[in-house]
């Protein structure tokens, strides 16, 4: 692989043993994948920072790496609990200490402690810039909506890239690999504003198309563009795809020529695909849930406001909770709008930042059954925690909460 003088000098240890190792790992990875050189990145997003996921080995490695600082702006994925209200969630002290140790390592490295899976709602990423992002929904959003260029990195490869500001030049960093491989026609009567429907559509798409770059036509634009995240999160949960080109939305569409679409296979996605996914995740009877969960991927400010407006008369009984997960930024905006987080909590409505149930110590804090509008959450909660899940439309969940748990 070709390396420039700066990269050679890192590899030779002039910037210390840790950066040398980081660069070496990226070079070896690039060589194994056929990259010709390294390219500069402007941003990195690091996943795999929960103690539940990476354990003691991950904690130790991050501690070792934390003697060095990142070379480019970097953000990070959610952790195992809300940094302020962890005690109220029942998180044990020992677990708290371990998670904080990981976060402190990241902080020492200069990683922004954003603890959110929606860096695209927080960071300012320009189109056509090379970045190194982990977290599948964020990768798909960066490539398919923002028009940035990133492979689907693992948490560690994104962190190593952040340390040296480089990533191997292969895959989705190369224009030639961003051409469509199949055309997917979406049936027109599918609601583009319902998270569970969008997620199921994406999940089904990912199950059918395991690799390549699907070109999506007749996808109705949601009222709020960021809702596309549910579609992308569904795709990310069921496939290894890193880019889709959505007609009228994805910047990559502008570079397409008619010849790029010639002779492509074509398939349709319709309501039957969505119905199948709903039937896959249907373990929890309505009043048997421990938590009703919104926020995978993290909720935007608009979504939190919308949900809070709909549950203003809801008070949940003991043992039942509603979880809303979002970024620290959104929680502070909500507070600035006059909401009292403690009042919400006293009604069983837990507005949570910094965390995600998928990477939380759920068994320890005694969550065994979840109703959610997110297919990604349903997929991973069942797979990684073995708990019961039911996928349900957001509007239906909100309606039922009002019918069953209204305090008026």
């Amino acid at each position: 692989m070709y390396l420039n003088k700066y990269e050679e000098s890192i590899l030779n240890g002039e910037y210390g043993p840790i950066k040398a190792k980081a660069l070496k790992a990226l070079v070896k990875m690039g060589e194994a994948l056929g990259a010709d050189r390294l390219i500069e990145i402007t941003h990195a997003h690091i996943s795999g920072i929960s103690y539940t996921t990476i354990g003691e080995a991950g904690l130790e490695l991050l501690k070792e790496l934390s003697a060095e600082r990142v070379y480019v702006d970097a953000s990070c994925n959610p952790a195992g609990f809300d940094l302020e209200r962890w005690r109220l969630l029942g998180v044990p002290e020992e677990y708290y200490e371990k998670q904080i140790e990981i976060i402190n390592s990241l902080r020492r490295m200069g990683v922004k402690i954003t603890l959110s899976c929606t860096p695209y709602l927080i960071e300012n990423i320009r189109p056509a810039t090379h970045i190194s992002w982990a977290e599948s929904n964020a990768v798909l959003y960066a490539n398919s909506v923002l028009g940035a260029l990133t492979n689907r990195e693992g948490g560690l490869s994104a962190l190593l890239a952040a340390l040296v500001g480089r990533t191997p030049n292969y895959g989705l960093h190369i224009d030639e690999n961003r051409k469509p491989s199949i055309i997917v026609n979406i049936e027109p009567n599918i609601d583009p504003n319902e998270p569970s429907v969008l997620g199921s559509l994406g999940y089904s798409l990912g199950q059918i198309i395991g690799y390549g770059v699907p070109y999506i036509i007749n996808f109705r634009r949601p009222n709020n563009l960021e809702m596309v995240k549910y579609f992308l999160a569904g795709i990310g949960a069921s496939s290894a795809l890193g880019l889709i080109i959505i007609s009228q939305i994805s910047p990559d569409e502008r570079r397409l020529r008619r010849t790029d679409l010639r002779n492509l296979e074509r398939m349709d996605l319709d309501k039957r695909n969505i119905k199948n996914v709903f039937e896959t995740f249907n373990d929890v009877q309505l009043e048997d849930f421990d938590i009703v969960y919104f926020g995978c991927p993290h909720l935007s400010l608009n979504e939190v406001l919308h949900i809070l407006e709909h549950v203003k008369n809801v008070r949940l009984p003991k043992g039942k909770r509603m979880w809303l997960t979002t970024s620290r930024k959104v929680v502070s905006e909500i507070m600035a709008l006059g909401y009292n987080i403690d009042d919400l909590w006293s009604r069983g409505i837990l507005l949570l930042s910094d965390m995600c149930p998928v990477v939380a110590p759920l068994r320890i804090i005694k969550v065994n059954s979840v109703i959610t509008d997110s297919v990604k959450a349903a997929h991973y909660l069942r797979k990684l925690h073995g708990i019961k899940v039911t996928l349900m439309e957001r509007r239906r969940i909100l309606k039922l909460m009002n019918e069953i748990y209204s305090r008026c």
Binding site: K21, A25, M29, T53, I54, E56, A57, L61, G154
Partner: protein
């Protein structure tokens, strides 16, 4: 029967020799391998990876696997070398961080021929694997 030699692609350099531990299925380091005990559970077998030449077609599953490979080093359980048909990024990164010699693109013949307990020499500097069947050592 003497040594058989095979060409391979060196990825993480180094030299190692030892007893082979062979799996015919892809390995997910997160889930299949416990870094603290060094135990691997795959192909319905339970084995220790420490000081073995670990041989399997390719990795699969979570990217957290790199941390697990690093963990094997941390807990003094690392294999002496790893041989793959095709190495994936998770494994490459883990092996660089844990200083485990890694080679891939070795011929299918090698994979058909090698079995657990054989003596294997991995020269990941030159890209050469030598195989000595268990029977011929005795």
């Amino acid at each position: 029967m003497g040594h058989l030699t095979f060409k391979c692609r060196p990825i993480v350099e180094g030299y190692a020799e030892g007893e082979a531990l062979v799996f015919n299925q892809p390995i997910s380091f997160l889930g299949d391998v416990d870094p603290v005990t060094g135990v691997i559970k795959a192909d319905k077998e339970v084995k220790k990876v420490k000081d073995r030449i670990l041989i399997f077609p390719h990795g699969k599953g979570s990217t957290v696997g790199s941390y697990v490979i690093y963990g094997l080093k941390r807990y003094n359980n690392k294999p002496k070398a790893i041989i793959n048909l095709i190495a994936d990024p998770v494994l490459v990164i883990g092996c660089v961080l844990a200083d485990i010699p890694l080679v891939d693109k070795v011929s299918r013949e090698f994979f058909e021929y090698v079995s657990t307990g054989d003596y294997v020499i991995v020269d990941a500097n030159q890209g050469i694997i030598s195989l000595c069947k268990r029977k011929s050592i005795r």
